[in-house]
Structure formats: C-alpha cells, structure tokens
C-alpha cells in the first residue's frame, strides 16, 4: 500500500499534475521549474500572434542609423513614416518597419515642405 502511494507521488511529480502536499522539496522544485518555461513559451507565442505594431519603425534604430551620404544623424517623421536628413533635404522611406537607406530610394524634400517643418519641431 505504501509502495503504491510512493509510486503515485513519483508519477505525479514526473507528469507535473499536482505537487503532492507532503515532502516535497523535489516535487515543488519540479513544478516551479516547469512554470518559468511555460511562462516563456506563452511569452513567445504572444510575441508571435499579438505583435502590437509589426509595421512600426523601431526607435532604437535611430541611435544607430545615419545618412549614408553625409553620415549625419536623422530625424524620424512619424506622419510620413520617413527618416529625414534636414541638411541635405532628403527623406528615406520606412516600408513595413524596415528603413530603406539607399540614396537612390530617398526623396528630395522640396522647399515648401522644409518651411513647414519648423512648426513640428
């Protein structure tokens, strides 16, 4: 009888259904060890399915990116989703959250738009 109870405890620990109430440094440890893993897995699936803004530009990139031509820092313009180099008057588009830093893809900002910019800054 006792032997049967003992193996049942072991089985529940292994299957991690319910940590048995008695004795169990090992069992509680096993249960606890499972939960961070489960939390991590849930976290990963959350990231996969419920990604808040997959198309948005990651502002952390702003610290790294510079204009490939002048090597000067850029400003992110959220309304047009572009990275702007005011000095040279060009704007690099951000498509699907990926900035396109090829000079040929950049757009020239005309004078009129440049006059409007001081309002936003």
């Amino acid at each position: 009888m006792r032997g049967w109870y003992g193996s049942r405890t072991l089985a529940s620990v292994l299957l991690c259904r319910q940590p048995p109430p008695s004795g169990a440094g090992a069992a509680a440890a096993a249960a606890h060890r499972r939960s961070p893993g489960a939390a991590a897995r849930r976290h990963a699936s959350d990231r996969q399915t419920g990604q808040g803004q997959p198309q948005a530009f990651d502002p952390a990139l702003l610290e790294l990116l510079v204009c490939p031509l002048s090597k000067k820092p850029l400003r992110y313009e959220a309304s047009t989703n572009e990275l702007i180099n005011k000095e040279l008057g060009i704007a690099y588009p951000v498509i699907d959250g990926i900035p396109n830093m090829i000079p040929q893809a950049a757009r020239m900002i005309d004078r009129k738009a440049q006059d409007e910019e001081p309002k936003q800054t």
Binding site: H32, H43, R47, L64, D96, P103
Partner: protein, 317 residues
C-alpha cells in the same frame, strides 16, 4: 573543361581591367557621386558596366528571394548550414556583442547568432547555479523571465541588405520562428553603410561580398563601422585547392546547379550567374591582401570543404 579554361582566361583579362578602372572610378567617385565613370566589371562571365552590375545583381536576388533558402539547401546538399555554424563558432560571440550582418538577407547568420548568445547565457547561468546552490527558486525563475524579454547582455544584431525582398523574407522568417528582440532590419548598400563610425563589435558578410560592385569600398566601410578591437568575418565561395576535386566541382556547378535553379526556382539565369560569379571572385590569398589593404590586421583564412568556401577574418586594431 572548356568552361574552366574560359573562366581562367576571363579572370586574367578582367582582373587587370578591373584594377585599372577601379582606380579611375574611385578618384571620380570621391568627387561627384551622381556622375558615374563607366568603368567595366563582370557580371558572371559577361562584361557589364558598374552601374549595370548593381541593377543586375538586384534583379537576381529579387527573383530568387522566396526560394533562396530552399535553393541553398538543395544546391549545397544542406552543407551551407554547417558552414554557417562553423562561422558562428569561429566568431564565438559573448552576450553583449553588437553584430552587423551585411548582405544578411534571409537572416541565417542573425538567427544563429541569437541562438548562440542565448545558449552561452544559459551556460553561464548553469555555471552560477552549480556554485550557488542556495539561490531561491524565485530568483532563478526570475532570471529565466528576464532572458525572454531581451537578448542576454544587451546583444544586438542589425541585418543590412541592399535588397528589400530578401529582407522581407528574412523578417517573415523571424516572426515565424519567434525572433524579435535585439534584431533589426535595414535596407542599405554595403559600399555606403548608413551607420556611424565605430559602432559594432563584429561585422559579418556571408556569401554576399562577391555580389558587391566595389569590394574595396565595402571593406573600407566595414573597417569604418567596426569598433577598435572589432572583428571582420567573411564567409564566401573560394578556389578549390585540389585539382581533381576542382574538376568535379566545376562539373557539378555548371551542369547541375542551373538545372536545379530552373526546376526549383524557375530561374536558370540567376543560378548561372551564381556559379560564374564564384569563379570570378578572387582567390584566398588575393582576397586576404584586399582585406589587409583596407586596414585590417591579423588577417587569416581557413578553407572549408577543400576550399569550396573560405572564412576570412581580420581585426581592426
């Protein structure tokens, strides 16, 4: 065999011309970027102007982007995975490394980097656990949770590629596999990187540098964006050293690969370009000299699979 002799002759001709036009082109480029000196270069076995090469290469990768990974597996019989794993082992990044993966397209190197850094971190945690047996379970589970929120140690990888189709495929792959933290995607030209000086610990370019029109400019940009002490790593097809194996390799390259390209990706020409561009890329020693010219020190290379690919490594010191 005729093809390989042709390749040797072609290479001899082109390398001389290439050198002359490169020096003229570079002088003009430093002045006005809009004016293009019509220097000539090679696109596979064709001679094309330098601007044309850029466009042609772009179209090649635009058309193969979706089938790129499948083609890599079938052409190299899956061996390209081993090559990339060996590259990561040679890099041996510790948590906290900032990596720039140029021509990284579909993200193979970037994902391997993330896995490597994570497993290094887990290893470190396990070592700590061995010596600190009295840590409470709450503390340990907390450290597991922190690990998932961002890459251990603040590691970061930026994948830069000139072709946005390849990056799109890469980004989709990342979402599918669950990589999101510490990973950024940028469309950029290896010859004109949109990054400031001394930003990265490691610069890698895997199977990309032979497609760059001005290799020396790409190398100079690599030198610029690396921090002092930073490492340059290049995984690229190279010259096979064994003559018999070289014949078999030529046969396989010119007879089998374009056919596979047609069957799997529906694109004979792109894969014809691929095998021709491999023949035109400088050999190990010559490429080593080019890397040294850019300012890197302690430049060495190691051949993999008898020289089919080589990993060149240099340091900015």
């Amino acid at each position: 065999m005729a093809a390989s002799i042709g390749a040797v002759v072609c290479r001899a001709l082109h390398s001389r011309r290439h050198g002359k036009f490169l020096s003229i082109g570079r002088g003009l480029f430093s002045g006005a970027r809009c004016l293009v000196a019509e220097g000539e270069t090679h696109f596979g076995f064709q001679t094309v102007s330098e601007t044309e090469k850029g466009e042609k290469v772009y179209h090649v990768f635009e058309s193969v982007a979706k089938k790129y990974d499948i083609m890599n597996d079938s052409m190299s019989l899956g061996i390209h995975r081993l090559w990339k794993d060996i590259l990561l082992h040679q890099m041996n990044p510790y948590p906290g490394t900032q990596l720039l993966d140029v021509a990284g397209g579909t993200g193979d190197i970037a994902f391997r980097f993330i896995n490597y850094v994570r497993s290094q971190w887990e290893h470190q945690i396990r070592q700590k656990l061995k010596s600190h047996q009295n840590l409470s379970w709450q503390e340990i589970s907390k450290s597991y949770q922190e690990e998932e929120l961002k890459l251990p140690g603040g590691s970061q990888v930026v994948v830069c590629d000139i072709n946005k189709e390849m990056l799109k495929v890469g980004k989709q792959k990342a979402q599918h596999l669950g990589y999101s933290e510490g990973l950024s995607w940028v469309v950029g030209n290896a010859e004109e990187l949109p990054f400031n000086d001394s930003k990265f610990d490691v610069y890698t370019i895997a199977f990309g540098i032979r497609n760059v029109t001005h290799i020396d400019q790409a190398l100079q940009e690599a030198y610029r964006v690396l921090k002092p002490g930073g490492r340059f790593l290049c995984l690229e097809f190279s010259q096979v050293n064994n003559p018999l194996f070289s014949r078999l390799y030529d046969l396989y390259s010119f007879q089998v690969i374009p056919v596979l390209g047609e069957i799997i990706a529906g694109d004979w020409k792109s894969y014809q370009y691929l095998v021709e561009s491999i023949r035109h890329f400088p050999a190990q020693e010559e490429f080593k000299a080019m890397i040294e010219d850019a300012g890197f020190l302690k430049v060495e290379y190691r051949n993999l699979t008898s020289g089919i690919v080589a990993i060149h490594s240099g340091f900015k010191l």
